[in-house]
Amino acid sequence: MGKVKEVKKRKRPKPPPSGGKPSKEFKIGLLRRMMEIRAFEDKVFELLARDILKGASHVYAGQEAVAVGACSAISQKDYITSTHRGHGHSVAMGCDLKLMMAELCGKATGYCKGRGGSMHIADVRNRNLGATGIVGGNIPVATGAGLAAQLKGEDSVVLCFFGDGAANEGAFHESLNMAGRWKLPVIYICENNLYGMSVAFEKACAVSDIAGRARGYAMPGVCVDGQRVLEVRQAVLEAVGRARKGEGPTLIEAKTYRYRGHSRSDPRAYRTREEEQYWHDRDPIKLFSEDLVKEGTMTLEEITAVQAEVDAEIAEAERFAVDESPYPDPSEVMQDVYVGWIEGERGLVRL
């Protein structure tokens, strides 16, 4: 396997001093991150179509404001857990696009050495506790991370991302009950994109707002417009503030939309084109760009320039992942199942 080129570590956009207004650089950073997510996801969709990307990939396009807004409200000492539709979370956490793309391609240079793929990107050292293929599977894990922070006496918080479908899983209810009871520093962020796989949220859920369930678990429930990045950021900031002070968890429901189908093979027969158009008109990148131009923070040319830089980044990620990165060595398939042991001829043997 070839050596991985030295990869520049990307930092999360530096949050402004608490209570202060976001600076111009900060806002450009938010826009850039959203564009990166969109461009990455579009590229993923294209590579799936060309059968260069194998397996499943669930694309985050349309929901960028939620990940970027939320992750901009936390710091290096905080954690997130992600979902099968979680590329956006990883990008928002500052994960390297090249290593992410390599992971989706199953290459040895990927974040998980090609073992996890699209649905399991993780960067635990940087407090991205990973994505899971089980809907709702990380809600208890995030709760545990919050428990660890409480036990250690740290004022770290945990952002737990999940969808409207997961809000009906038992894991959601058990976790929110535990977090509410023990006042764990977990911010539960439900990205309600109105559909599970093909079944509409309104057909699956007994209530029309998930945020209302917070009342059942002794925590505040907040509804936000998931297409507006600053609104999401503000809601998360308040929740983070509460959690750091030991006031416990918050449930935030971000109303948003996924532009693509559940996965590549989904023809979206369960949605109307009118509905999709409505949400395209509320594209979070478009809305934020318009706001930035209107308030004079950026010009159209500057925005276009950022887009061009982003496109170049994505092209570089594609090159790195598809052309330059090797596949893992098949003889290593049994590594890292356990710590300190490996499969031998007659069973497990110590390493």
Partner: protein, 326 residues
């Protein structure tokens, strides 16, 4: 040497590890003030407080899941699932998240958690409180499964499990909590993946674990009266498994009886038998025998329960069959 009970040995192990390492904490249903359904955590809440010894709601999924998340963030949780029968509710978190996160994330995380639970029949509490489900978990890559039978073993193995960086399912037996045995006061650890030869013999090997290890010993005593010398092995740890101990014994005796309280169908001992067949085929002088629980939900009535689970007599008969003396 002090003689203490199995439950006291568990409690001592937990207390010692919690004193030694501030990252170790306990959580589960009724573990704190009540001291555990079988009193295995009695006294810990008093010593370590309610932050480190936490009563949870009846929420097996988040008990296992929170342990997973806390472990990934540097803690060493010892969570309890009161009955192994309830592991079904915790399955996804344990088998899909805890077991697989290390591998799926390219080896870049560890999940150093212990899930303590207990199983087994003998109390007439029927099908949902009497099972032995270890086979399901040995079948899941990424998980260790430990099933000690004596107070000495349970203490040494629990301490090792807590210090191990892998997710460990530690399955005690409800009928063994009162079992007394010698346990040194000084600190000791028992490595994972090591079986214990309880008795030496040349005629037939009897391998088992948990409560069945006692019945195997009893069977060996009865067989000795008939002039049959059995070699008795207590496996203690199902994953990693000390198959070499079994192979060495089978090469000596040529005959093997496997006893387990799991249901007969796809019992864990089928895996043992397969490995023996793979690596010691030529040394077998008779077909391998297995003595397992009947393929029915564990019944409540004592007469039926005794019939359904393996008895000492059934182990004796199996041993006789390997010698052609049925």
């Amino acid at each position: 040497m002090p003689v203490i009970t199995y439950r006291e040995a568990i409690r001592d192990a937990l207390a010692e590890e919690m004193r030694r390492d501030p990252r170790v904490f306990v959580m589960g249903e009724d573990v704190a003030i009540y001291g555990g359904a079988y009193q295995a955590t009695k006294g810990l809440w008093e010593e370590f407080g309610e932050s480190r010894v936490r009563d949870t709601a009846i929420s097996e999924e988040v008990i296992a899941g929170a342990a997973t998340g806390a472990a990934m963030c540097g803690m060493r949780p010892v969570a309890e699932i009161m009955y192994v029968d309830f592991m079904t509710l915790a399955m996804d978190q344990f088998v899909n998240q805890a077991a697989k996160n290390r591998y799926m994330f390219g080896g870049k995380t560890t999940v150093p958690m212990v899930l303590r639970t207990e199983g087994g029949a003998g109390r007439c509490i029927a099908a949902h409180h009497s099972q032995s489900l270890e086979a399901w978990f040995v079948h899941s890559p990424g998980v260790f499964v430990v099933m000690p039978s004596t107070p000495y073993d349970v203490k040494g193995l629990l301490k090792t499990s807590i210090r191990d960086d892998n997710p460990v399912l530690f399955i005690e037996h409800k009928m063994l909590y009162g079992e007394k045995g010698e346990v040194p006061a000084e600190e000791y650890l028992i490595p994972l993946g090591e079986a214990a030869v309880r008795r030496q013999g040349a005629d037939v090997t009897i391998a088992s674990y948990s409560r069945m290890a006692f019945r195997a010993n009893e069977a060996a005593d009865l067989l000795a009266k008939e002039g049959i010398e059995a070699e008795v092995i207590d496996l203690r740890c199902l994953q990693p498994l000390d198959i070499d101990a079994v192979l060495e014994s089978v090469k000596k005796t040529g005959r093997l009886v496997l006893a387990s309280e799991g249901y007969k169908n796809v019992n864990f001992v089928c895996e043992v038998a397969m490995r023996v067949q793979e690596h010691a085929f030529d040394w077998l002088d008779a077909p391998i025998e297995r003595v397992c629980a009947a393929n029915c939900p564990v019944p409540m009535s004592p007469v039926l329960e005794d019939e359904a689970i393996p008895s000492t007599e059934k182990i004796v008969q199996a041993a006789r069959r390997t010698l052609g003396k049925a």
